[in-house]
Symmetry: C2
Subunit: 278 residues, 2 copies
Amino acid sequence: MSTLREEVEQEFRDLRDRICARLEALEPAGAKFRCTPWQRPGGGGGEMSEIRGDLFEKGGCNFSAVSGDRYPGVPEGRVAEGDAALGIQPPRAEEMAGKPFFAAGVSLVMHPRNPNVPIVHMNVRYLEVGDVFWFGGGMDLTPFKAFDEDTALFHAVLQSVCGPERYARFSRWAKEYFFIAHRHSERGVGGVFFDYLRGEESWPFVQAIGDAFLPAYTPIVERRRDTPWTELDRAAQLKWRGRYVEFNLIYDRGTIFGLRSGGNVEAIFMSLPPLASW
Amino acid sequence: MSTLREEVEQEFRDLRDRICARLEALEPAGAKFRCTPWQRPGGGGGEMSEIRGDLFEKGGCNFSAVSGDRYPGVPEGRVAEGDAALGIQPPRAEEMAGKPFFAAGVSLVMHPRNPNVPIVHMNVRYLEVGDVFWFGGGMDLTPFKAFDEDTALFHAVLQSVCGPERYARFSRWAKEYFFIAHRHSERGVGGVFFDYLRGEESWPFVQAIGDAFLPAYTPIVERRRDTPWTELDRAAQLKWRGRYVEFNLIYDRGTIFGLRSGGNVEAIFMSLPPLASW
């Protein structure tokens, strides 16, 4: 398994580099990602890359690879019910409780300044707990103003990468996962979400999902970046970002895992917007 | 018990009225609380009062009295450990699970515009679950810039209302409760917090806590409201408010109870700041 682990770690670093380079190239005045390495006292660490630009008011693209003696688990509840409904078999609690773990991933959230350009999130991850290992990930688009052709493009790229069967399941899973229960509302226009994909045969698919991020998102940025916006749009965008904060702090599996496993707070909260209102 | 319930409900409404009237009187240009009643589909409802003023950029003072067939409970974890460490006996889970409940309370959070004026939170509440009933509540001060004399005044008022024994226990409880675990930091300069105070004999104390809010806070507002501030202060205030959001969405008992019990989302989130940054 350590060969797969090493390969995943290297590929995730490379993916992060490719994404950061391409997103930087979109910045009109040359804003760059600033990379800050961090170490986790319990084992491993990561590199968080943050950009504060003209196009991307705030964005983060983080690589991490952490390990520890005792898997902290994820909370029970709505999400686990969603998994079961989709016929997914998460590792049983007994298989995982207190076992040594290794987790590597790339997580990205971009908060554009122009309210016409949607927020985007992407994550790919690899976990080993005791003797089991699996992959998870996904991406989703959160426009404040949804444009049908953007939604269609984003989903078309995902559909072509997933194939019809996986796209049907994983886009439905995203609808359930990226759901703000207390507002009875999806957080955006969806995408794909998946977890507990066991076996080495899932690795090429997870790589393909990572590679799909740029073609799924950058054409939308280029199409909307010069659309004018009003102060009213801006105010509504900040309110919408407030919902994004609510989702991430109340429901997000990655955020909760990060906080529970003693991850780097700044890296975990790179997903939070530069400015939000209520 | 229904006599106590009615008395509590009436007194909580009156407390809300007194507080709103006094805080409105501090607004320089006559901003007023806007009161919006809401009904809970499962039973009961409330009145949320929100102000968007010059002094108080955003503030809320909510009254609610809700009931239902099945108590939704509060999550296990850090908080329950804190209770136990303080010798508090929460009602046992078996006493509460699935029992009919009634909950009434006043909750207040004020977010001043001037970074020299601290955020304040106050809550008093009464709960019945099955055959048991108890009181809870507290208040705490969250300055972005802490002034020793403000902290001293706030705590002096609380100490005089609580008496030395209760003040010692409940201010220690506040230190544990208003704690942002993932940042290893208190959220402000403390105050008091208490829960599971059983018996009718606690009612005068809870009333006294409600009455202590205005004398504990308004002198601080009057002392700091005209202190000049810079854009740098403002930026730091918005960051500090981000931590306030983190606390409320990740740890706060009232927020979690509200969301779980199908409370009114706008009323629950009145505690969130008008603008916050990360």
